[in-house]
């Protein structure tokens, strides 16, 4: 990690998890990072001419085109004989799992030498908190309101990590801004691999999640510790858990401290717990699970 700051003076809300994910990845990659940011909070808060907050080369792409612009940048720089660079994209959950999934899938299929990082704040935050396919079950957004009949989002969170892995990608990982050393190791590891790499980092948004600005790191750590967000890697056809939670506790406290889940009933929470438990049953049977951090 370098001491230089590459994402500075940005206009993200105080305590923004996404901005921490971008900042830390750039500190791992250093000035050789050539960044692509589609429409979304990180481009909106980073490029407000004349306030330009990326100190490395960075460009805004179309909303759907993060991966295709990365492909173009990688090919272009290579054609110019430049070798010491990492083409890295930072796209939101909507930009990744909804509108950008086709370009991403194509890049993985061609095994383009790019690093794609999805900072997941679990909704379209920049346009005012609309549901994406990565919004979890039960979350209240402006398009999935909470009322008597519908308790927020009715659909489960799309499993982007395994969808990407199912392409047979060179490297995929999940991460959390609550476990920065693990995230940094994964960014470093990905940058040393040739081919397509994907990292999915959970990055709480105080504004959209209904949490205080000083809670985003803590909530991101808690999500891992209570088994809701699984830290994992996929490489050479194998799935492995990076950090295994000590136990699978009740989710009442973790869920209820977030404003977006305030309306959930005990039954709703029991359902989330049962979904989590069956996921871990599967993981324990089929994935490599070692206690402690990644080696």
């Amino acid at each position: 990690m370098v001491e230089d700051e590459f994402f500075y003076g940005h206009k993200a809300c105080a305590g923004c998890g996404g901005s921490l994910a971008v900042r830390i990845a750039l500190k791992v990659l250093g000035k050789r990072a050539v960044a692509v940011l589609p429409a979304g909070c990180m481009s909106a808060v980073g490029f407000n001419f004349p306030q330009l907050c990326f100190a490395n080369n960075a460009i805004i792409s179309t909303f759907a085109g993060t991966a295709s612009m990365l492909t173009g940048i990688e090919a272009g720089l290579r054609a110019k004989g430049i070798t010491d660079f990492v083409a890295v994209g930072f796209a939101g959950d909507g930009g990744t799992a909804d509108i950008g999934i086709q370009a991403l899938s194509g890049a993985i299929d061609r095994d383009d030498d790019i690093l794609y990082i999805c900072y997941d704040n679990e909704a379209y935050m920049n346009t005012g908190i609309q549901k994406s396919s990565l919004t979890p079950f039960g979350a209240k957004t402006t398009t999935t309101p909470a009322g008597k009949n519908a308790h927020g989002n009715l659909r489960p969170k799309k499993n982007m990590f395994e969808i990407v892995a199912a392409h047979g990608i060179k490297y995929a990982a999940t991460a959390s801004i609550g476990y920065l050393p693990d995230y940094m190791k994964k960014v470093q590891r990905a940058s040393e691999i040739k081919g397509t790499k994907y990292i999915h980092v959970i990055a709480p948004c105080p504004t959209g999640w209904g949490i205080a600005s000083d809670e985003s790191v803590e909530i991101a750590k808690e999500a891992v510790d209570c088994g809701l967000w699984v830290l994992a890697e996929y490489k050479n056809g194998n799935y492995s858990v990076s950090i295994k939670p000590k136990n699978l506790p009740g989710l009442q406290t973790h869920i209820k401290r977030q404003g977006r889940f305030k309306h959930l009933t005990d039954d709703d929470i029991a359902y989330v717990e049962s979904q989590r438990d069956s996921k871990w049953n599967f993981i324990n049977q089929h994935w490599t699970v070692t206690q402690g951090g990644i080696k």
């Binding site: 003076g9 105080a14 001419f49 004349p50 100190a55 920065l180 105080p206 600005s213 809670e215 790191v217």
Partner: protein
């Protein structure tokens, strides 16, 4: 090295605008200090320089200063993450006076 604040020109002529959509990286013309209602204050006696606050600051405004750390108040937003992450309670969040 980190981007620094420049003087924002008040009068722009056509020549001042970029002739393409590219411009200098890390070009800052405005502070974020006004966003703050509380400010983190470091107790240099308690701080061991473990750098956990430096690592977790979303704005990257904490930097090493000798054996301890200091804060770039021009860009700190007062989110409080640093205060919460510091196990030694060496950061106190104080109400902004002005």
């Amino acid at each position: 090295m980190k981007p620094h604040l420049r003087n924002l020109k008040t009068k722009w002529t056509l020549q001042d605008y970029p002739d393409s959509t590219a411009y200098e990286a890390g070009y800052l013309t405005s502070k974020n200090a006004g966003w703050r209602s509380v400010r983190p204050v470091i107790d240099a006696e308690k701080c061991t320089g473990c750098l956990q606050c430096y690592l977790h600051c979303p704005d990257g405004v904490i930097f090493k200063s000798g054996k301890v750390v200091a804060i770039d108040y021009d860009f700190c937003k007062g989110c409080g993450i640093c205060g919460r992450i510091c196990r030694l309670k060496a950061i106190k969040m104080e109400v902004e006076s002005k």
